[in-house]
């Protein structure tokens, strides 16, 4: 068992330590439930604190000025601000310190808003006490802080755009036009995405493909854009400015010389419903997805094709191809790309309404989805633009749109899919345009026509006689003979039941996250919001940045949006990426691990656990060797080292132990000491705060970059200091921001539990939780759950554990 004496304090800075503490009111956000004055007064009593103030808005210019002046006038060499989450304003205050000539790593924050005032709204006393603790912990750490220097790394002036929908195309074109080399990677055989499937766009009613096709071909032949269709990103290594990306380019089995004459498809004996036409038309095993596809080159679907392995059973297409462009021996290639920035524009899927049994989709032929509608109404579509009932190929006299299918409902997705209302209004007008006599009903919950020109379109639809009925039908019933459909439900405006008979029902289906989102999420260590879309770095201030530096989001991958918003966001993402590439360099991680040579025995444990292979062992010298540039700063090596031979910059053992001591100073036996990783658990706690989720005030969260930093000795130290319980929380396994460092966390936890068992301690006092940035609820409930444990722990038990843990150490 270790305690601070043994590890020694040699690493703290010499000379007297002068800390300034600033307690922020954040208007009433903090002051509402925390007595900031009281906290400030308390702070003044903590050793090394030479000055302590409370202030209305510390982040305001005046606030920052105040701090700067104090640094200068009072020779402060450490600054602690107790306010919001460091994930929000740490950069702000760090800058202020720097401007005042103080190394920004000598600044520390106490998160008394997200982690305190917002989650203990109704217990000012407890909240204030907790705030004091948090400040005390911050000061403890601050006293041990050391200046750090940030080195600069170059940014490769090339970008990767994942996804060739309209967002990806726009981003690629913008970057290409700016003069950067762009790799546009698309999973499907053609770029174009969902927009290519849509007939007209709202509110302007342009032909969708007509405005998209030119962009597609621009992207196709842009000198700066290297297009890879039928391709998938399979591996991403490296860091901002220096990503190493592997792209698997699946073979088309047709060479570039293909003239897209289509002779091959004519003779292909295999047919299957065409995905592009949502199964309303047929394609062959060799095909081109749609007329305007880019590239136009045909592609063979080897899963369907009769030719398996390297045996050619059927050679019809080969024979039919005059230019001899079909080559079944094409092999998949792996492209290795060096890029500085990555734009994720992977798009979305459409909701499958078969789940909503009452609406009869897949049971009744004349119930179609809005996407099927787009193909039907499209002049190039399977019915050459005739809106026909699949049952009898007749134009229906009446149709009904059902809104929010899969959206805003417990039975589908909770969120609003954003585009369905306007899409339906557009569709209704298209019907009116071609078949003015058609009776059109729209069953809705609310009509959301919030965008530019949307309301006009809505009005037009009403004027044209489209009937808007509030209240979704409870069920759709088919009339056997006519295959017509009855919609039964309640008109919630007129408070009366309706029973409407139509020839065709169109389900206005919602947008859902791509079912394979987890792949990109893992590769780029992204987070997802509860609705499953990729999470932005900040919902307001960094809406197109991903949490991972150098990665940006565009289009429906981030949230459901219409074409205009997708294009807007794409250009924004391109601009953000351009900034990095224009600068050509970026400051590298200063928070890295450092070897203390004299302690190192060259045992190699650190090298084993390093996710970045940044550590190698010099067999002769029996010493570890660090490749600093490759280190990402998770600190799992430091946690693993049995000889205290690795110091984790800015998260040293002493600093963390200091925070534990501070947290445990009073009524440790009632407290939970929590170690949260910066990217998931800590952010999750922030999210709980933002969502004002209330939970017991007795948890003290210590931030580490990764849960992998959590050394067993920290937990033992917490128990030795009498803590009632300890919580360790990190990213979900597989989601680790540091590839797989959190697997080490799990191993260490298991060892600790075993040890506790051996010592006859209640294992339940040590808890492990995987919490991602959007799972505030999970964190809140975890703390609640642990509350009961805390209460059950007797003082004898605490004493026992103190001794035993110490002995064991």
């Amino acid at each position: 068992m270790t305690d601070t004496k043994e590890t020694g304090n040699e690493s703290t800075t010499s000379g007297d330590i002068r800390i300034g503490v600033y307690v922020c009111h954040c208007g009433l956000n903090i002051a509402g439930s925390v007595d900031c004055k009281d906290v400030a007064d308390f702070a003044a009593t903590i050793p090394h604190v030479v000055l302590s103030k409370d202030y209305r808005y510390a982040c305001s210019d005046q606030g920052q000025e105040l701090i700067k002046n104090d640094i200068r006038e009072n020779k402060l060499n450490r600054v602690v601000v107790a306010s919001c989450s460091p994930r929000l304003h740490e950069p702000t205050f760090r800058r202020a310190c720097e401007e005042a000539g103080l190394n920004k790593y000598l600044f520390e924050m106490a998160n008394i808003r997200e982690h305190c005032s917002w989650v203990h709204l109704y217990d000012k006393e407890a909240a204030t006490e907790k705030a004091k603790d948090l400040v005390k912990m911050a000061v403890a750490k601050a006293a041990l802080l050391e200046p750090q220097t940030e080195s600069e790394v170059p940014v490769t002036r090339k970008a990767l755009v994942i996804g060739g929908g309209v967002a990806g195309i726009q981003a690629a074109l913008d970057l290409g036009d700016t003069g950067y080399q762009v790799y546009l990677v698309e999973k499907e055989p053609s770029i174009g995405g969902r927009m290519a499937q849509i007939d007209k766009t709202f509110p302007t009613m342009d032909c969708s493909i007509c405005i998209l096709a030119p962009k597609m071909s621009d992207a196709g032949r842009h000198p700066n854009i290297e297009l890879s269709t039928n391709s998938e990103v399979v591996d991403v290594k490296g860091y901002i400015g220096n990503f190493k990306v592997k792209v698997l380019k699946k073979p088309r089995y047709v060479t570039k010389d293909c003239t897209a004459c289509g002779d091959c498809a004519k003779v292909c004996p295999v047919t299957v419903p065409n995905e592009f036409d949502v199964g309303l038309a047929t394609r062959h095993a060799i095909y081109t997805p749609f007329a305007q596809a880019v590239p136009a080159t045909y592609v063979v679907d080897r899963n369907l094709c009769l030719n398996k392995e390297n045996i050619i059973f059927c050679d019809k297409c080969i024979k039919a191809c005059e230019r001899k462009t079909i080559d079944f021996d094409m092999k998949p290639e792996t492209l290795e790309l060096d890029v500085g920035t990555i734009i994720v524009a992977t798009g979305a899927d459409v909701y499958d309404p078969a789940a909503l049994v009452d609406y009869g989709y897949t049971r009744f032929p004349n119930v179609i989805t809005s996407l099927e509608f787009e193909r039907l109404i499209n002049a190039g579509g399977p019915s050459s633009g005739h809106l026909i009932r699949p049952s009898d190929m007749q134009v229906p006299e009446s149709v009904a749109f059902i809104q929010c299918v899969g959206s805003r409902s417990e039975r589908g997705m909770l969120y609003c899919s954003n585009v369905c209302c306007m899409n339906t209004i557009k569709d209704s007008l298209l019907i009116k345009e071609h078949w003015p006599e058609t009776k059109i009903y729209v069953f809705y919950v609310d009509i959301r026509a919030y965008g530019k020109g949307f309301e006009d379109l809505y009005k037009r639809a009403r004027k044209e006689g489209v009937l808007f009925v509030r209240g979704l039908p409870a069920e759709v019933v088919e009339e056997r003979k006519t295959r017509n459909l009855w919609l039964i439900g309640e008109n919630t405006l007129q408070k009366e039941v309706y029973k409407t008979n139509v020839g065709m029902v169109i389900l206005s289906v919602g947008i859902e996250p791509r079912r394979d989102s987890d792949v990109i999420q893992r590769l780029l260590t992204l987070s997802r919001t509860p609705d499953g879309f990729f999470m932005e770095a900040h919902p307001k201030l960094r809406p197109v940045d991903a949490p991972t530096r150098g990665v940006f989001l565009a289009g429906c991958a981030e949230s459901p949006k219409d074409i205009k918003d997708s294009v807007t966001q794409a250009s924004a993402a391109a601009a953000r990426a351009s900034i990095l590439m224009a600068q050509g360099k970026v400051t590298a991680e200063a928070i890295t691990s450092k070897l203390i040579e004299e302690n190192c025995t060259g045992c190699g444990l650190c090298a084993k656990v390093c996710p970045y292979n940044a550590i190698s062992i010099d067999k002769e010298r029996k010493k570890a060797e660090f490749i600093e540039a490759a280190c990402a700063g998770c600190g799992t090596c430091s946690a693993e080292c049995p000889f205290n031979a690795i110091e984790m910059r800015h998260f040293t053992d002493e600093q963390i132990l200091g925070q534990i001591d501070a947290a445990a100073e009073q009524d440790a036996n009632k407290k939970i000491v929590a170690f949260c990783c910066n990217w998931c658990a800590y952010a999750g706690a922030d999210f709980a705060g933002v969502s004002r989720m209330q939970y017991p005030p007795n948890v003290r969260i210590i931030r580490t970059m990764c849960s992998g930093r959590m050394a067993p000795k920290f937990v033992e130290h917490a128990f030795a200091k009498g803590a009632a319980a300890v919580l360790v929380a990190g990213c979900h396994l597989g989601d680790c921001h540091y590839i797989n460092a959190n697997y080490q966390t799990q191993k260490r936890m298991e060892r600790l539990w075993k040890k506790m068992e051996k010592l006859g301690l209640n294992k339940a006092r040590l808890q492990l939780a995987w919490i991602n940035a959007s799972e505030g609820e999970r964190l809140a409930s975890k703390v609640k759950e642990m509350q009961s444990i805390v209460e059950s722990v007797t003082s004898e038990e605490i004493e026992k554990s103190k001794k035993m843990v110490e002995k064991a150490g």
């Binding site: 392995e309 390297n310 045996i311 050619i312 059973f313 050679d315 080969i318 021996d329």
Partner: protein, 276 residues
């Protein structure tokens, strides 16, 4: 049904089918692919001569509805050389076995290839001497069992495509009897090529090779081809192995080089002007 004629009938000598080859033998497939190739190229059968040597596949010349000659053991290439030089209009195709072409006839093969004689040589490689009852030959895999290698074969094999390439063939390919489409395409390519082309067809002999080597049926041998064959076009023929675990197939050589006939013609022109 029966009144319909088999599409390849016109390429087969009337009344000679069924042929003498065993159940599951690949020779018939080679003949069938050859017929398909003639058909696709719409060749004038009167201008095609099929020459074969001795061995099971040697009988092939008797089944093609063209001028054909069934020579002595190992000599088809030498005979074909005479035919081709005597009447350059003729497409002279040699179809014979591995033993015929590469053991007893090896000398003729390497020299015809060296001369870039305008011949198409198709070799049915079944790893043994079939006609005489399954003795080992120049292509019998190491350790394989045959009637004359009762303790396993201790002779290393010829890599036929490597040999052909080294000797200067302008077109060299190897397929198995299961790769019928590709084989047909290769035969077509060869027929249109000027100079010496060589196609090796790894062909099942369940009766006399398979049975001794745990592949009693044609299907088992063809399954083996299917599982282990690997297309590697224009890879180094020296590395184009045939082992139980891997059969490298594909086109290995496709180059242009003046053929013997062409050079002969040019030389004759010279000679005429230099008469005494």
């Amino acid at each position: 049904m029966e009144e319909l004629e088999h599409p390849y009938e016109k390429f087969l000598r009337r009344g000679r089918i069924p042929h003498i080859w065993c159940e599951g033998c690949g020779n018939g497939i080679i003949l069938s692919c050859f017929a398909q190739a003639l058909n696709d190229l719409n060749m004038d059968l009167d201008k095609v001569v099929v020459v074969s040597g001795i061995g099971c596949i040697g009988r092939v010349s008797g089944y093609t509805n063209t001028d054909s000659y069934h020579t002595t053991h190992g000599r088809p290439i030498a005979f074909a050389t005479g035919v081709k030089l005597a009447n350059p209009e003729l497409k002279v195709v040699v179809i014979s076995g591995d033993g015929d072409l590469f053991a007893i006839g090896g000398n003729h093969f390497i020299h015809a290839a060296r001369r870039n004689m305008d011949l198409q040589v198709i070799c049915a490689n079944n790893f043994v001497y079939g006609m005489t009852g399954g003795q080992h030959g120049p292509t019998t895999p190491l350790d394989a069992w045959t009637t004359t290698t009762p303790y396993g074969n201790i002779e290393h094999t010829f890599n036929l495509v490597h040999l052909a390439a080294a000797c200067g063939a302008v077109y060299v390919a190897r397929w198995t009897a299961l790769h019928v489409r590709r084989l047909t395409e290769s035969i077509k390519k060869a027929l249109q090529k000027e100079g010496f082309s060589f196609i090796e067809v790894v062909s099942p002999c369940p009766e006399l090779f398979g049975r001794y080597n745990r592949m009693e049926t044609g299907i088992k041998m063809m399954q083996w081809f299917k599982e282990v064959s690997e297309v590697r076009h224009f890879s180094d023929p020296a590395k184009a192995e045939i082992t139980p675990q891997k059969i490298v197939v594909g086109e290995f050589v496709d180059i242009e080089k003046p053929s013997y006939s062409r050079l002969l013609k040019e030389m004759a022109e010279k000679a005429k002007t230099q008469e005494q």
